[in-house]
């Protein structure tokens, strides 16, 4: 006699979680063998650690222009491994603080963008072919074709330069790709037998979307989220270079802008302007590598690309 699981809610959910845990560990096992993905993950872990520890590493006084103690515009020395800016602040300290700011903006904007994108993508896909899909689809297409930077500039100029507004602007201009990918994935999941079964058992649309469709497209959303962080950090940098960043928080882009306006180019203060850009490149590259690796884990056909 086969051991039949008793049909109560708690064991059903335990089974579900068990299945998800197995799925997760399979995914992780595949990810671990992806060299580029692991490289990205290690780099990200390093930057993440710096971001978390930054309040311990840098005191607020040392990055306050009025109380900085270094000689202005000094090249790297033993005391200031990356030199100083025109206020005499240590560039290394600016970089450490910037890690926290840039990652925060990137992650927060991504969370918002992916929430919007996933919601619209799920609804548009689940109701594929209906009026809801046509309206949402047109909206997604519109946000995909308009020049995002110009829209971001107009919005940032109107809303004003605060960290929250920058996050909103980036979220609004970067959710559409996620929506399109999630929509395509949802269209496929919608046709699977278990969705039909749930509907036959009388499940509402809401419960089918949240309990059956969402868990199945979640890996796609996750991979897309990781790729979106890269886009968000690049966007923040670009907006900050254009002078639309929050003047009170020192992101990497903000440091690049200050260096550019502070004559780092004409006077050859390379130690001021090169490191923040390299930091952006490293983190963006790391997120992109991780995102691609995740996509490969999810869809092995991509492995040869």
């Amino acid at each position: 006699m086969v051991d039949i699981q008793p049909a109560n809610a708690s064991s059903a959910s335990r089974l579900t979680w068990q299945r998800r845990r197995i799925g997760f560990s399979r995914g992780w096992a595949a990810f671990r063998h992806n060299r580029r993905g692991m490289l990205g993950l290690i780099v990200l872990a390093g930057f993440g650690l710096v971001a978390v520890l930054s309040p311990l590493l840098v005191s607020p006084d040392s990055i306050d222009p009025s109380s900085a103690t270094g000689t202005p515009n000094s090249p790297p020395t033993a005391g200031y491994p990356l030199g100083t800016d025109s206020f005499g602040r240590s560039v290394l300290s600016l970089l450490i603080v910037g890690t926290r700011v840039s990652l925060t903006v990137g992650l927060a904007a991504t969370a918002a963008a992916v929430f919007i994108g996933a919601t619209f993508g799920l609804l548009s896909g689940y109701y594929g072919g209906t009026a809801i899909d046509r309206v949402l689809g047109a909206l997604i297409d519109w946000f995909l074709v308009i020049p995002w930077l110009v829209l971001a500039i107009v919005m940032a100029a109107i809303l004003g330069p605060t960290l929250l507004n920058i996050i909103i602007v980036i979220a609004v201009t970067s959710w559409a790709l996620t929506a399109r990918v999630v929509r395509a994935s949802t269209l496929g999941v919608r046709e699977l037998p278990f969705v039909e079964r749930a509907r036959a058992l009388g499940a509402t649309d809401r419960s089918i979307i949240t309990r059956h469709v969402l868990p199945n497209v979640f890996p796609v959303i996750f991979a897309q989220a990781v790729l979106t962080v890269a886009v968000a950090i690049l966007s923040e940098t670009t907006l900050a270079i254009l002078g639309l960043g929050d003047p009170t928080s020192i992101s990497w882009g903000r440091t690049i802008q200050e260096a550019f306006n502070g004559g780092a180019m004409t006077n050859g203060y390379w130690w001021w302007i090169v490191p923040p850009g390299l930091a952006v490149v490293c983190v963006t590259l790391a997120f992109t590598l991780c995102g691609y690796a995740l996509e490969e884990v999810l869809d092995p056909r991509l492995r040869d690309r």
């Binding site: 047109a138 519109w142 074709v145 308009i146 020049p147 930077l149 110009v150 829209l151 500039i153 107009v154 919005m155 100029a157 109107i158 890269a230 690049l234 940098t237 670009t238 270079i241 254009l242 002078g243 639309l244 882009g253 690049i256 550019f260 180019m265 004409t266 050859g268 390379w270 302007i273 090169v274 923040p276 850009g277 952006v280 490149v281 963006t284 590259l285 992109t288 590598l289 040869d304 690309r305």
Partner: protein, 318 residues
């Protein structure tokens, strides 16, 4: 290609344009306070000019009326006056158009040619040296903020090596001849081309990989054609199709694409105008740039759709 296909695409373009006009209208009005009060806050307009502006915006009228007024003014080519200079926005934009078209046109063209040639070879021989090299380079370029890349090129080629001027359109001393302008143009074009080349490479490569497994390629090989001949005469022309769409689309980004690069190199085009408008919160100029750049993208999209329909008759059935 049927008229119905063209009509559907044109209808979509008009709908998108209308949506952009509406976004432009509402963005301008969700700002704290009335737009004209903002004009006054950011200076330099006489009270008469402010009253004139108010009338122009029709701010004493109800919102739907304002909306209609706005549409009418926009379609009759009136985009308002600059807060900073008091000049007509349309003529300001027109004066800055040429340098941007020059910069983005040449940059996009170089990026497209290089990207297509590399993608063609990389896709044909996957995993080869040229494939891996180009792939990693595109990834690296994708992760590099364009503005910062421009600054690095400036430091290297204008600062340390002194090969090129550090910015601007021409030098006062050498009078702005073609040679002078092109030496000023070199670094911004290089930055733009480096920023764009990756996408052309990726699309061409993927398309080449798709084409490679088609039956007509196998037939061409079976006929005994050499490998380069198959690639050049049978694979590449078919693989070019999606890339052509991308090329047309990127010309639509002419207006919006060069903001950061023009800022870094003080290249006096629409991008620099936009940057200056950001610094002074010159809203009418920002609105005009948004409208024009979006319109350019929509038109480019329409052209790409129609070109695609002409080049590949199968597309109509989709």
């Amino acid at each position: 290609m049927s008229l119905k296909y063209i009509a559907r695409k044109a209808g979509w373009a008009l709908l998108t344009l209308w949506f952009i006009l509406s976004v432009n209208f509402f963005l301008f009005r969700i700002m704290p306070g009335d737009p004209v009060a903002l004009l006054a806050r950011s200076q330099r307009l006489s009270p008469e000019a402010l009253d004139h502006q108010r009338q122009l915006f029709g701010l004493d009228q109800p919102l739907p009326q304002q909306y209609l007024t706005y549409l009418r003014e926009t379609f009759s080519g009136n985009l308002g006056v600059s807060i900073l200079s008091g000049t007509d926005v349309v003529s300001m934009v027109a004066a800055r158009m040429w340098p941007t078209i020059l910069l983005v046109g040449i940059g996009t063209l170089i990026a497209a040619v290089v990207g297509v040639l590399l993608g063609m070879r990389a896709g044909w021989r996957r995993g080869s040296g040229i494939d891996n090299g180009s792939m990693y380079t595109s990834l690296l370029l994708y992760s590099t903020p364009e503005g910062w890349l421009g600054m690095m090129l400036l430091i290297l080629f204008a600062g340390a090596l002194g090969w090129f001027p550090a910015g601007g359109y021409s030098s006062a001393s050498s009078g702005g001849g073609a040679g002078d302008v092109s030496s000023h143009l070199a670094l911004p074009v290089l930055t733009l081309a480096l920023g764009y080349v990756g996408q052309f490479f990726i699309v061409m490569r993927a398309s080449m990989i798709d084409v490679k497994s088609q039956d007509y390629i196998r037939l061409a090989r079976a006929k005994g054609l050499t490998d380069p001949a198959v690639r050049r005469h049978h694979a590449a022309p078919n693989a070019l199709l999606p890339t052509i769409t991308l090329i047309v689309l990127s010309f639509g980004f002419v207006l919006g694409g060069a903001i950061v690069i023009e800022t870094v190199f003080s290249w006096p085009g629409l991008g620099l105008l936009t940057y200056q408008a950001i610094q002074t919160l010159d809203y009418p100029v920002l609105q005009a740039v948004f409208l024009l750049s979006s319109a350019a993208v929509i038109v480019a999209n329409l052209i790409a759709d129609i070109a695609y329909g002409l080049l590949d008759p199968r597309i109509e059935q989709v």
